[in-house]
């Protein structure tokens, strides 16, 4: 059974569902229940377990069906029981005590009638709650799928990723090399198995035209580490991963579906990856998505057991041995770092070198590695945000209930006079509010189902596990619990106020309404709380908005406007085959198009870099001491016209020319401003450098402006730009990004650019064309996603808070009409009256603002990691938000204040 069956969590889920179902069975008449309830609960459990075997989605569907079945048949049995009862009327009226469910049904019916009598009130309350619950449930669905639900592998908490860090070399995150893998496989006792993974892209030829796909080279141990076996065919075996071994591949389910239409005869078929004929030997089960959702195939990876220590870039994925904790594994790995000099073998890597490099190793759980701290923080912040919004919504509805309580005092008094106990009255109110809560919840689940789809479509591409997001049984249970809780909360809050004191008082005419003041205090408290929550949400939105502005104001070092990009995937084999000639032909063809100004090519776009590499290098004029750390820079390969097209300013030296890219031996290199500054005190022109183990010394022919290669919010790192004829082994030339500067809207030219490339290279896969502005926007997607959610939640909660404030002050004015009339009759000027009401309203709002400011400051640290270039306690933002709230509440208070000052003393006194 895949994933080891439903497991303990599944059984608990079914048990919880059964408990709820048993409670709901009380909807049937007593007679029916006593005969069949146990049997029905058993059937429910059996059916739920069977459904769970087929997945949680199936379980959710089954439960939904059972719920509808229950609702429909309960009504039917009740009607039938009543008909039978009408034929044989009981001698005594139903004894209430004996049938609590009957009482509850009556209460519910009463609650329903009360709600139906005031449809406007019911609709407003249900809508408010629906918004709050819907938002919370939608975000919970995402949090559940991304953060809570375990990875779809057996014992996922044992899966860890091994990493290294060398901040002293400017390499904060290094993965693994053949050397480190050898070190751990030989000496580490903490792991039951260690796999090596290398995510790549390849051109896949299986149909008529090749496509660019994501693949992963994996060592065969991956199947032991993840403990997942293929659904079809066989796994990769150690023999597959020997040099000269068979060319085989295991497809992922996604790859099998998307590329081969789930052909049942796929096993044994031969396809080509980058032109290498490869036999498909297996297909992974559905849901397997490692290393990413996009992975199409797993290819065998041979890790040279005598490979070098210095070439990093391999992902090390391990499974902890039984009983080994993360901490003890991390300790062992840290201790093993002392043996690196003996593993490395090659010169220069001794204890002193490691110390100056700040060398360390870390062991991280796979789930944390996949999700990342920033995403987790952003999701929790967003969930907290919508949670706040739900609180505000509950406060609003509680307030509506309080207003109604005024109107219903008389009804309460009558019912109590007729013998209703306080418990019965309370049950009546609670059933009313829980019905509202459930109605809101139903609306909320609908909204959430729509919202989840929108979120998945609009969510930032960096959000991992996004494909797993769905409204499943857990989410439905969460929604149900939330609805009932919300109903109890806003219904229960005002309850003591309703029922305290002699209820019969309500029957008396006139103003002797003693409970009224207390109710006012409670309403005011709710309003202040709403304003406080609104301020906290708006402060968060404001901070993110300002970060976003700062991010947009960052000079990226290039001009994205008017630039179109298009990826050309030549594949590993073709990429090194005369790139200069190939791109010259492509660029000549594209340059001839009308509307095209300049054309360039690179292997790594700024802001969202892929295929960018770092390397140590030597400077000819400054020989390095024996054990000194070498300088390290990042480098990209660019073609002629790249700097002009991207609008990257040349600061010194000469522009690139086509002949710089020709010839067997590269002679020149261009470097960035920070490269020249950090390594050559700004005098870089004419210096000669050599990268890694390259044969060529390159002369620096120009210095260009710094570019934010790694994202607008990331630091600038020194860059070198190599020419197309580079002989550096580290460079990935399989994908070229064509960049085209156009006269008008770049997207208009996209089809003709693609067609021009096809004329030169009909068989090469192209990626969809994008504008550089889109690329930049995509790099900011996570910030903008969080920001939009916060802004929407902040605005909605502000509106709810203002409406509440307006309502309370308006109500106060109505209550005090007589007093106000008296004051005016006694000579108070309208301005004074207005001032009095304004003061009262504003005092309320200022209390809320003060609490909100304190809360915003207290919670500011949560946001810290999401902000850029701004403090989480930025005084300007907090001041602006405070002002906004004060101004908005002044408006909400001013309207009733004006009404108060217009009170005619005669009318006011006459109402008595």
């Amino acid at each position: 059974m895949r994933g080891g069956g439903p497991g303990r969590r599944g059984r608990r889920l079914v048990a919880a569902g059964e408990a709820v179902y048993r409670a709901l069975l009380r909807a049937y008449p007593r007679d029916f229940r006593s005969r069949f309830a146990d049997e029905m609960a058993l059937a429910f459990r059996d059916a739920s377990r069977a459904a769970l075997e087929a997945g949680r989605r199936r379980l959710a569907a089954a439960w939904l069906r059972f719920l509808l079945d229950l609702a429909a048949t309960a009504v039917r049995e009740r009607v039938a029981a009543r008909r039978a009862g009408a034929l044989h009327p009981p001698l005594h009226p139903t004894t209430r005590r004996g049938d609590p469910m009957g009482v509850l049904i009556q209460d519910v019916r009463h609650g329903l009638r009360a709600l139906v009598r005031r449809p406007g009130f019911a609709a407003a309350a249900a809508l408010t709650l629906g918004l709050g619950i819907g938002g919370t449930v939608a975000i919970f669905a995402v949090v559940n799928a991304v953060l809570i639900r375990p990875l779809p592998y057996p014992d996922p908490e044992q899966l860890v990723v091994l990493e290294h860090h060398a901040p002293g070399l400017n390499l904060p995150d290094l993965e693994n090399s053949a050397g480190t893998i050898r070190l751990y496989r030989t000496h580490a006792r903490s792991f039951s198995s260690i796999a090596v993974v290398n995510a790549q892209e390849r051109n896949l030829t299986g149909g008529d035209r090749p496509v660019r796909v994501s693949v992963a080279e994996v060592s065969p141990e991956l199947f032991d580490v993840l403990r997942v076996q293929p659904a079809l065919g066989r796994r990769l075996l150690p023999d597959d991963a020997q040099p000269g071994g068979p060319r085989v591949a295991v497809l992922t389910h996604a790859g099998w579906s998307a590329r081969f239409g789930r052909a049942p005869d796929i096993i044994g078929r031969v396809v080509e990856f980058d032109g290498v004929p490869t036999e498909i030997v297996g297909v992974m089960p559905e849901g397997f998505a490692y290393p990413s959702d996009e992975t199409v195939a797993l290819l065998p990876l041979w890790v040279d057991p005598n490979g070098p220590f210095g070439t990093f870039g391999l992902t090390g994925l391990a499974r902890l041995a039984p009983g080994v904790t993360l901490e003890s594994a991390a300790r062992e790995v840290e201790q093993l770092q002392a043996r690196i000099p003996e593993i490395a073998g090659d010169g220069g890597i001794n204890a002193g070198f490691l110390e100056r490099a700040g060398w360390s190793a870390s062991v991280t759980r796979l789930k944390e590695e996949i999700i990342g701290d920033d995403v987790a923080t952003a999701l929790w912040v967003v969930l907290a945000t919508v949670g706040f919004l739900l609180l505000v919504a509950c406060a609003s509805v509680a307030n509506l209930f309080l207003v109604r309580a005024e109107a219903r005092r008389k009804e309460l008094a009558v019912r109590s006079a007729l013998g209703a106990t306080r418990t019965r009255l309370a049950a009546g109110f609670l059933s009313e509010s829980v019905i509202l809560g459930l109605a809101g919840g139903a609306l909320g689940v609908l909204l959430a189902a729509v919202g989840v789809r929108a979120l998945v479509a609009a969510g930032p591409a960096q959000l991992p596990r996004l494909h797993e997001v769905s409204v499943d049984a857990t989410v439905l249970l969460f929604a149900l619990a939330l609805s009932v809780l919300a109903g109890l909360a806003f219904g229960g809050l005002p309850l003591p106020r309703y029922l305290r004191g002699p209820l019969v008082e309500g029957l008396r005419e006139g103003r002797g309404d003693t409970g009224s003041r207390e109710r006012q205090v409670m309403r005011k408290g709710l309003i202040a709380a709403q304003i406080a929550l609104s301020l906290m949400l708006l402060a968060g939105s404001g901070l993110l908005l300002r970060s976003f502005q700062r991010l947009r104001a960052v000079d990226p070092g290039f001009r994205p406007e008017g630039v179109l990009t298009l990826g050309i995937s030549r594949g590993e084999r073709d990429g090194r085959n005369d790139p200069t000639g190939f791109y010259r032909r492509v660029m000549d063809e594209v340059r001839g198009l009308p509307g095209v100004q300049t054309v360039g090519v690179t292997n790594a776009l700024p802001v969202l870099p892929r295929g960018i590499n770092g390397s140590s290098f030597d400077i000819e004029s400054r020989p390095r001491a024996e054990d000194a750390l070498p300088p390290v820079a990042m480098f990209a390969v660019v073609g002629p016209g790249y700097f002009e097209t991207m609008g990257i300013r040349l600061l010194e030296g000469r522009p690139m020319e086509p002949r710089d890219h020709e010839g067997e031996i590269p002679r020149y290199v261009w470097v960035s401003r920070s490269f020249a500054r950090d390594f050559m005190e700004g005098r870089a022109l004419g210096e000669r450098v050599r990268f890694g183990t390259d044969p060529d010394w390159l002369e620096i022919a120009g210095v260009v402006e710094d570019v934010r290669m790694f994202g607008l919010d990331q630091d600038i790192r020194p860059m070198a730009y190599l020419t197309l004829n580079t002989r550096t082994v580290n460079v990935n030339l399989s994908v070229g990004q064509l960049v085209v500067r156009t006269a008008g809207d770049p997207m208009v030219l996209a089809p003709s650019v693609a067609a021009a490339v096809r004329r030169v290279a009909p068989d090469v896969p192209l990626t969809a064309a994008r504008t550089m502005k889109q690329v930049v926007a995509e790099s900011m997607a996570q910030t903008s996603f969080t920001m939009i959610v916060l802004i929407v939640a902040g605005t909605v909660s502000l509106l709810l808070g203002l409406i509440g404030l307006y309502g309370v002050i308006g109500y106060v004015v109505t209550q005090r009409t007589r007093e106000i009339g008296l004051r005016i009759a006694l000579g108070a000027a309208p301005g004074e009256v207005r001032g009095m009401v304004l003061r009262q309203g504003m005092a309320l709002s200022l209390v809320g603002v003060a609490i909100g400011l304190a809360g915003a400051l207290a919670l500011s640290r949560l946001l810290e990691s999401l902000l850029f270039g701004i403090s989480s306690r930025d005084p300007l933002t907090l001041a602006a938000v405070t002002l906004l709230l004060v101004a908005a509440s002044a408006l909400a208070v001013y309207l009733p204040a004006r009404r108060a000052s217009a009170v005619s003393p005669m009318d006011a006194l006459r109402t008595e």
């Binding site: 049937y28 029916f32 005969r35 069949f36 049997e39 029905m40 058993l42 059937a43 429910f44 059996d46 059916a47 069977a50 069906r65 059972f66 509808l68 079945d69 229950l70 429909a72 048949t73 309960a74 039917r76 049995e77």
Partner: protein
């Protein structure tokens, strides 16, 4: 109530749910969830009974004397929970046969009008 043996034809036509439940009991007695599973499997997933529908129908059929209880026992050996088993009465068997015959006559009628391929013609 005086036990009077009712005319099986008076109970026709049966609702699809009831017909399926009776059919599932023709082979022998079953408990509730077993009936649900059998009906779903036999109808190719087309008829799915919820517990409410199932026991509502069982209640009425017990009252009509079509079904009877066949005692309680665990479904599998070693299980704690006892399940109540149901079986057809003689009347139940007549009713389900009568319904099947009625449906057969309808199918014949449809064939006569060339709505369906004749058996063996395909």
């Amino acid at each position: 109530m005086t036990p009077r043996r009712p005319d099986p034809y008076a109970l026709l036509p049966l609702s699809p749910a009831v017909f399926h439940i009776l059919l599932s009991l023709v082979d022998g007695e079953r408990h509730g969830y077993a009936i649900m599973r059998e009906v779903e499997a036999r109808s190719g997933g087309e008829v799915r009974l919820g517990p409410g529908t199932l026991y509502g129908a069982i209640k009425r059929m017990l009252e009509q004397g079509v079904l009877e209880e066949a005692g309680e026992r665990p479904a599998r050996e070693g299980e704690d929970e006892r399940r109540r088993y149901y079986r057809l009465t003689a009347l139940g068997r007549e009713v389900v046969a009568a319904e099947a015959a009625r449906l057969e006559r309808l199918v014949e009628l449809a064939r006569a009008k060339n709505l369906l391929p004749r058996p063996g013609a395909a």
